[in-house]
């Protein structure tokens, strides 16, 4: 957990001292700042999320876990751990980002909703992939390759939703992105619950 937070803070520091968005036009600035925010969040998540199942393999506790609990219970437990982890990262990164990069947040409600649903979806889609990757021989390196194309729809929605919240777009416009983010979360978690068994027992 410490490593992930430090990773997030390091990326944030690099961005903060190398890029200044002051003096840019409002629309351009919102686009750049929301992309950068999600780049920081995405890569921090990618550095931490695959660990949940690899840890069990490393400590050789998989067998014990498999004996004591049913697959979907384990999946939900790991999912909740990942959600908690990502919220911790978000809590650390976002306030600092707001202070250092000074984006103007026009709509706080949608902004927070995009963050919550976006990070939730990130955790939801990543947990199954983390379980997959833990069963392979290459583990960590493979995770980003597997995850990126599947997370792309989520990222695009989250970035566009954040832009909307920064520039103060009409609520209906942002609501479209929120609905898709929520649907993504529900779809990936449902599919994971059905598929996890095959990964876990395999």
């Amino acid at each position: 957990v410490n490593a992930i937070l430090l990773f997030a803070l390091t990326t944030l520091a690099v961005i903060s001292f190398s890029i200044s968005a002051r003096g840019l036009a409002e629309g351009v600035k919102a686009g750049i700042l929301s992309s950068l925010l999600w780049v920081v969040l995405f890569f921090s998540a990618m550095s931490g999320l695959p660990r949940v199942f690899v840890k069990e393999e490393d400590a050789r506790t998989v067998l014990a876990l498999r004996l004591t609990a049913r697959p979907h219970v384990i999946f939900l437990g790991k999912l909740m751990f990942n959600v908690a982890l990502l919220f911790l990262v978000t809590l650390a990164v976002v306030p600092l980002y707001l202070i250092l990069m000074e984006p103007t947040v026009q709509r706080w409600g949608p902004f927070l909703a995009v963050l919550v649903l976006g990070m939730g979806g990130l955790a939801g889609a990543s947990t199954l992939l983390a379980a997959l990757v833990a069963k392979t021989s290459s583990r960590g390196e493979l995770f980003v390759v597997l995850a990126f194309p599947l997370l792309l729809p989520l990222l695009v929605c989250a970035i566009n939703g954040t832009v909307g919240a920064f520039v103060g777009a009409r609520p209906e416009e942002i609501r479209g992105y929120l609905v898709v983010l929520a649907a993504y979360l529900v779809a990936t978690v449902t599919a994971s619950l059905m598929l996890f068994e095959f990964v876990w027992e395999g």
């Binding site: 686009g31 889609a125 199954l128 992939l129 997959l132 069963k135 392979t136 021989s137 290459s138 493979l142 390759v145 597997l146 990126f148 194309p149 599947l150 792309l152 729809p153 989520l154 695009v156 929605c157 566009n160 898709v180 649907a183 993504y184 779809a187 990936t188 599919a191 994971s192 598929l195 095959f198 990964v199 395999g202």
Partner: protein, 234 residues
């Protein structure tokens, strides 16, 4: 005997498909006229590009259907079929991307424009690239079958979201002709040759798929034989 008949049927199929595709290629250059509204000499490539893209999507669907089958029945053959369909989908997808890119360079002044369809094709290629990365990272056959099938199906669940998302990628409006499928958008000669091309590629897909499957089954039989007789081949 039935095997011999099957292989003779496959050979016949090969010549049929070969002749059909040759006819389509000839028709594309001799029968079809230049289309209006494109850079000179570039319009004919779409007769090959469009069916290739369709074929690659059909192949990926096939791969996913076999993946579901492989998870349910736990059959090695279903897993092999899923893999080979994905291979062919990747082949057609790469060809579609390359031909599309050549067309784009002639008409839209750049090989790559982040056009919505270019983006979604790229994501498809990335997904199945990752799929083969996953396959090569697992040693055990049964485990490889289960894990790659799970990834294949999971990707299928996420794909519909791209349909919503892709038009919202900030860069541009779609450069691809939009209402060309409606009547009057495409002249009859283009329509005929394009669908004939798709039919030809479907035939080609079936042939390559069967060929690949036979090679895979033979390799598998070799493996089990050398294991059971205790002789190390190689």
């Amino acid at each position: 005997v039935s095997k011999k008949r099957a292989s003779r049927g496959l050979a016949l199929w090969k010549y049929l498909v070969g002749a059909w595709i040759t006819a389509v290629v000839l028709a594309a250059f001799l029968y079809v006229r230049q289309a209006q509204g494109f850079a000179p000499g570039t319009s004919r490539i779409m007769l090959f590009h469009v069916p290739m893209a369709m074929m690659s999507v059909i192949a990926f669907w096939t791969s996913m259907v076999y993946a579901i089958h492989a998870l349910r029945k736990r059959e090695t053959v279903a897993d092999m079929k899923s893999e080979y369909a994905a291979e062919l989908g990747l082949l057609f997808g790469i060809l579609a991307t390359v031909t599309g890119s050549i067309f784009a360079a002639g008409n839209w002044n750049s090989f790559w424009n982040w056009d919505p369809r270019e983006t979604s094709m790229l994501v498809l290629l990335m997904i199945y690239g990752a799929y083969f990365g996953l396959r090569s990272a697992v040693e055990d056959d049964e485990r490889r079958a289960a894990l790659s099938a799970v990834y294949n199906i999971f990707a299928g669940v996420v794909m519909p979201f791209l349909v919503f998302v892709v038009p919202r990628i900030p860069a541009l409006e779609s450069l691809h002709p939009q209402n060309i499928w409606k009547s009057g958008g495409m002249s009859a000669d283009y329509r005929i040759v394009l669908y004939s091309g798709l039919l030809g590629y479907l035939g080609l897909f079936v042939w390559l798929f069967q060929l690949r499957l036979r090679a895979g089954l033979l390799a598998q039989r070799d493996e089990t034989q050398s294991l059971t007789s205790g002789v190390m081949v190689k």
